[in-house]
């Protein structure tokens, strides 16, 4: 089979085509009348509050926001927002949202999913959505556990995790969601933390503005079944050394008094070093460039995440590159064929070319 030049459209921002709000909006408008039913202290509350606070900022019509979720504690999210929403079935939200996004360019479509929902049962849909680069925003609430089914280990739980289903410790190797997304060549990949509202909001804003699939991993605490999984990033004692901050255009330097930094290390790989030990000091540090075309760079960054119990991980936007969005291309083909052949004459279609007449 041959390939054709698709005549790619220009690359508009993630919200292009969505009607703008005519009046300023406030947080309360986005709060639904449904009683929130997460456990007290659940990290989902913080994300919800941040999201409700952030939506008015987008400046789009409320009725043009559509939330699609799968199944899990986090997937209850849409019920608590006064936008259009669908709480679908386990793992399938990216597929459902793809159909919605393709047919409705005037909507801002968000997917809410969990580590089990997105990476276990729905892994296939996730990677294909990322590969296609459908214009939708995926928020993956990673609590490294199955919350709703009461505490089995998940595809992001560290090896050796003792849960109800793994009394002797889990034996499988976990996924690093960011690495996985980058392996699928996702165009926007970020990680943030439930409790850091400011950072979370800045990542959400960038995700919304990106044209194509935005993939955001949110470290989310489940105080019931996996408490303190992200404590290293929250405890004032440890967080400075735990969070590797990714700021576009800045050297990647962190730790108390900035004593740590990220440097190139061998073939396509990065490492954390004491800045004081570097021959060139800060000049040797990697300047973060989220627009690097080759996903290998962002992938190398993602490998700085601990695979086991988390002590250190990059937080921020790993990758933000431009690539045509699937839904734009699909719609473009419809427009192109209509321009070339008109909007379709049903009578001519059903009649076809080979007819005969009986008198």
């Amino acid at each position: 089979m041959s390939t054709v030049d698709l005549g790619l459209p220009s690359l508009p921002g993630g919200l292009k085509g969505v009607p703008a709000a005519t009046e300023p909006q406030n947080r309360k408008e986005y709060v639904s009348d449904q009683e929130v039913r997460w456990c007290p202290g659940c990290g989902d509350y913080a994300v919800l509050a941040a999201f409700q606070g952030f939506l008015p900022e987008l400046g789009i019509k409320r009725e043009n926001v559509a939330m699609v979720s799968g199944i899990g504690c986090s997937s209850r999210f849409p019920y608590y927002l006064s936008t259009y929403g669908m709480h679908s079935i386990h793992g399938r939200a990216p597929a459902i949202a793809t159909g919605l996004a393709v047919s409705r360019p005037d909507l801002s479509v968000w997917v809410v999913t969990g580590d089990g929902d997105a990476l276990s049962i729905g892994g296939n849909h996730l990677i294909h959505t990322l590969r296609r680069n459908v214009n939708l925003k995926i928020l993956l609430f990673n609590n490294r556990i199955y919350g709703l089914t009461k505490g089995q280990y998940s595809p992001t739980s560290e090896t050796g995790k003792v849960t109800k289903s793994t009394p002797m410790g889990s034996v499988d190797n976990p996924f690093n969601p960011v690495s996985l997304a980058l392996g699928a060549e996702a165009t926007f990949v970020a990680r943030t933390v439930d409790s850091d509202r400011k950072h979370l909001t800045s990542v959400l804003r960038a995700a919304a503005e990106h044209r194509g699939t935005s993939f955001v991993e949110i470290y989310q605490n489940c105080p019931i079944f996996n408490d303190n999984a992200f404590d290293a990033f929250k405890d004032p004692e440890t967080r400075d050394d735990a969070i590797i901050p990714l700021v576009h255009g800045e050297p990647i330097r962190f730790g108390t008094d900035g004593h740590l930094g990220v440097v190139r290390d061998g073939f396509a790989s990065l490492a954390v070093r004491e800045v004081a030990d570097l021959p060139g000091g800060e000049a040797d540090l990697v300047i973060h460039d989220a627009h690097t075309e080759d996903p290998a760079y962002a992938f190398a960054l993602s490998r700085l995440t601990d695979a086991g119990v988390l002590h250190q991980a990059p937080i921020g936007i790993f990758r933000s590159v431009e690539r045509p969005a699937y839904d734009d291309l699909v719609r473009q083909q419809i427009t192109t064929s209509q321009e070339a052949q008109g909007t379709g004459d049903l009578q001519a279609l059903v009649t076809g070319a080979d007819t005969w007449t009986v008198n």
Binding site: S32, Q34, K61, R62, E63, N64, A66, M67, V68, I71, P78, Y79, L81, S82, T83, Y84, G85, M86, H87, S88, I89, R92, A95, I96, A97, T98, G99, L100, A101, V102, S103, R104, D106, L107, N124, H125, H128, V330, R331, Q333, I334, S337, Q338, A340, Q341, G342, T343, G344, L346, Q347, L349, V350, T351, G352, D354, T355, W356, T357, V358, N359
Partner: protein
Amino acid sequence: MPTRRPDDPSFDLEMKRTVTIEVKQLDRVVIRFAGDSGDGMQLTGDRFTAETASFGNDLSTLPNFPAEIRAPAGTLPGVSSFQLHFADHDILTPGDAPDVLIAMNPAALKANLKDVPRGATVIVDTADFTARNLKRIGYDENPLETGELDAYHLIPLNLTGMTVESVKEFGLTRKDASRAKNMYALGLVSWLFQRPVESTITFLQTKFASKPDIRDANIAAFRAGYNFGETAEEFSVRYEVKPAHMATGTYRNISGNLALAYGLVAGAQRAGLPLVLGAYPITPASDVLHELSKLKRFNVTTIQAEDEIAGVGAALGASFGGALGVTTSSGPGISLKSETIGLGVMLELPLVVCDIQRAGPSTGMPTKTEQADLLQVMFGRNGEAPLPVLAAQSPADCFAIAIEAARIAVTYRTPVIVLSDGYLANGSEPWKVPVVEDLPTIEPNFTLEPNATDAKGAPTYLPYLRDPETLARAWAIPGTPNLDHRIGGLEKEDKTGNISYDPANHDLMIRTRQAKVDGIARSIPPIEVDDPDGTANVLVLGWGSTYGPIGAGVRRVRQVGGKIAQAHLRHLNPFPSNLGDVLKSYDKVLVPEMNLGQLAMLLRAKYLVDVVSYAQVRGMPLGAAELAEVIGNLVEETAGIDDDARHLGAAAAAVKHGEALNQELHQSEGAR
């Protein structure tokens, strides 16, 4: 007798022949092309069908091919065939047995001969009849020489050799040259049955436009085959099958999958909705995806998804956004879609799910036909998840059934299953082209304004407020101001759609969803019974693609004086409201199916009528003669005639021109 057709402008013949050619009139012919999968038999059959359709015969086709794309050449599993029944009258099936077999190699002869009745014409390409090839498929001796084919009208010809000879001026390799042998054979049978040939020449010109050598060779081979018939002494007779008497109008030939694709587009257009297809390739459903992919100008979006679950998910997501979501698949894919279809039942959104059934279970026999998914689509979901089920009864009916599915899906906000099968999908028949303006219109009736007031008296939107007549819920799509709402797979509170675990509410919602589907019966026509003088005691009831074979069987029984009533279901859930009364008004009800009695089970359960099931699951359509025999026997059994005194079944099965509606049509002389 001067019989040469003067109207073949593309044939400029030298008149070498010395004997005149006689033309025999036939009322019907069943012809089967058989060869290796690589021999182009499907294309040959398609072209002969197109010629026959444009001539104005009624016709019905049965392609039959292996699942392997190229099974080893020359082997029995690699044989592919295409059968066409054409007639000067209305016919219903591709025919039980061929009158003419064209076998392009020894394997094709061996694999097909068992279906060919004695006395039939067998044209064989002798080129591959070497000792080695014969041995490979289990012939110790050359059957063309042993006399074992004496009972047939055998015409052995070196078609390959003559093809190569006819295209030598194009300088192709022998291998490439011999590939045109299917066109040579087509030319020959086109001559034999006086088919108009212009369309095939035009077809070859377009198909091979970019490869002039191949184009010219194919056209040359086609003409040479035609000319060979004209000049060869082997052929002293040509046959004529007059155009059929059909209702006035414009006709075209159409296959089931194409009709289904067009019907889906028509349904969406009549509803004023964009069509979004989410599908994953699977035999025999892929052609619907292919056809719809060509129709983007009709505001058709096709998504080739990563799997069947994503296909139906994308369709449902599009429906949520206000499109007509459609997914097409076959049995194994439908299994994967079950959970999402259940979500559609719960969300109460339109969704059209087409199941082009194939032989199962599991991967089964992908290219063979079957009707064994009925219970899967009726019940294959968790919980009480009723949904409407429709079944097309002929290739062309796939068009109408798709529009009906769109009507029900949109009007009642529900997933709808459309059942077709491999036989309908690939088979074709003449179709009176519908006038688009006369097709039904479908009203989506989107909710645009609040439809209730809340406790404080403020206007509000209740997504599960229902139309009292249809029980369809209010449908507001994203983008509609002030009607934002959340729906999902969790049980909903009546009217508000909020999550509810209330026991009484759950019971109410279960019963309401069931009542909604049951109530669709009020919008569908009562089942019509064909019982010519109203005196039959036995009713044959079918569904889906058995319509043709059952009708043909019934005609045979009537021709030998049997009284039999026939009815066919296109709506399988809900059933037409008069079905129970109809069933109870006959002493016996016979239900033939290509499964182990799935409709029979539903009818027994619902109506407590002890229907007689006739079940055959061979991957092939039921035969007309076989059904005639079963029907005839049951008619006599019902009349209390003893086993050994029965004759109706045997007589009906033996009827030669079983599919003619009346005897006058048979005055013309038969083929032999």
